[in-house]
């Protein structure tokens, strides 16, 4: 069989892309010395910022789960006028430049805006608070959750729900006994995606709250103040801890199917 140039083109492009993505990451992980890694890990500021990144993004994923699941179900199951527009609105946060996200969120939180005044009365401040950071993270992470879970719901045949209802289940009964058990895996994946996007955010967070310091802001601070060598260990730790968390979650979601 003669060599197929088309196949070679595909393979070489693929390897080039894999190298482009992997080499920088591998290089970065390998450059810090073990000593620097250990020392960085003993730094309470670093630990605090990584823990804060993880917990704030987990909070964003949880909010997405609570609010986004019903929305995703609506988008997957119903047709209504304006649905396309709604779907475009959900995608908006992906398109908006990151600093603009921060500026937009601050725009309504100001003292001269009715929402800002309302928030203030409730004792909620966005600027420079954990609340603000979680708001930003939810804003950028929501689309990932909703789109993943919507696809998950769409893969579940409507007929299974119909049968459940014909057997006497109410709309919520059908949802909790048929749809949810079939879709929860996609919800876990959606929450991982949402969390990953939230943890990686920097531009919007740095506008809303430099402090309390999330890991990505700390990495940026160390880079600008002390240069690449000093910022690498923190970056590596952040990546490793994220990776560990995601693998853990993935592992739970690929458990052998139980019968309930």
């Amino acid at each position: 069989m003669k060599i197929e140039p088309f196949l070679w083109l595909m393979i070489s492009c693929s390897l080039l892309i894999i190298a482009f993505i992997l080499l920088p990451l591998i290089e970065m992980v390998l450059q810090p010395t073990a000593a620097a890694m250990v020392e960085t890990f003993q730094d309470a500021d670093v630990l605090r910022s990584i823990f804060f990144s993880v917990s704030a993004s987990a909070a964003a994923a949880l909010i997405s789960f609570v609010l986004g699941t019903p929305f995703a179900y609506l988008l997957a199951r119903r047709t209504f006028p304006g649905k396309k527009i709604m779907e475009s609105i959900v995608d908006l946060p992906i398109m908006i430049p990151h600093p603009v996200v921060g500026i937009a969120l601050l725009s309504i939180a100001g003292r001269n805006h009715w929402i800002g005044q309302l928030l203030q009365k409730m004792g909620i401040t966005l600027m420079g608070t954990a609340t603000g950071i979680i708001a930003v993270m939810t804003f950028v992470g929501l689309p990932f959750y909703i789109n993943t879970v919507k696809t998950g719901f769409e893969a579940i045949p409507v007929r299974a729900e119909n049968v459940a209802r014909s057997l006497g289940a109410s709309r919520s009964g059908a949802f909790f006994r048929v749809t949810f058990p079939l879709a929860w895996r996609s919800m876990v994946v959606g929450m991982i995606m949402c969390m990953a996007r939230a943890i990686s955010e920097f531009g919007a967070i740095v506008i809303v709250a430099y402090h309390p310091m999330v890991a990505s802001v700390m990495i940026y601070e160390r880079f600008t103040a002390y240069g690449i060598k000093y910022s690498q260990p923190v970056a590596v730790w952040l990546i490793l801890i994220c990776l560990f968390l995601f693998l853990l979650l993935r592992f739970f979601s690929i458990q052998p199917k139980s019968t309930t």
């Binding site: 045949p157 049968v163 209802r165 014909s166 057997l167 006497g168 289940a169 109410s170 009964g173 079939l182």
Partner: protein, 345 residues
Amino acid sequence: MIQLRDLSVKLPGFTLKEINLTVEKGEFFTLLGPTGAGKTLILESISGMIPIHRGTITINGKDVSKMPPERRGVGIVYQDSALFPHLNVRKNIFFGLRYHGKTVRQSGKALDAIIEWFSLEHLLDRSVVNLSGGEKQRVAMARALAVDPSVLLLDEPLSALDPGFREEIRDILKTLHEETGITVLMVTHDFVEAHYLAQRTAVLNAGLIEQAGTVADVFYRPSTPFVARFVGMKNIFPAKFDKDVAWVDDLQFTIPHSDNRFRKYVAIRPEDICVSRTNISKIATNIFNATVMRIFNKGIFSDIRLDVSGTVFQAILPTSALYRMNFAEGETVCITFTPERVHVI
């Protein structure tokens, strides 16, 4: 009993128009029609899965038009079974119990009887994912019957099955209906299924009921050319009528004596046309000389196309008989059919 009164459903690109239909208590009724005729839409209206535009749906005398699906007491079996893949066979069958105030213990005997009836005892702990098509349909039927529905809706329950399973499930359906006397409304595009299972039937075309009646009625007395074609009357010719005579071009057919004022077509089933070398029938009318155009061997039976001065007839004969008579293409033969086998439409 299921009664549809002026049922209208509007969907983007499709409309069901004023469907009137009564399925009597204990009856096995089929809805026939080609793909896209709106058959499934009627089932989904009855079960409450889609909102109706106008009209009423009554089940056992109770108007359910505005009820949610879970309160209509309607059992459904879909073509693809629609089993719950995350539950085993047992849990699929027991799924509906709790909504009917039953526990497995209370309804033990009834459930056991259903499970035994469908020969599912040995499958109870199996996952539904790896069942065969026939097994899936048996589980789907058992699941629907476990909550004792007042009517059973079947959406082409045989279509997705391999031939072997198709016969098995068809026989099960027939026996089930005979033994339990449950009201059944089944959708199918296969007339043979209707013939085999149902007492009455309705033929649907593009959202309209073309004809409703007993299966025999629809089969032997189709009221429109569409239905005639659907029930396998291959020979449909536009005709002019005069008392007990019809003219198809220049051919004169003797027909049953009836009121033919508003009729426009004659139709003859291919199996009602007798083909022979010389006239062997005892009647003196409807005898034509025909040229054999083509013979198509279709296994046990063969199709034969015959030209009678430009009008093409289609007849069906056992292949063995055809071999015996040894007709050749191009040969002139004699075709006859009794007047009562000529249908006027």
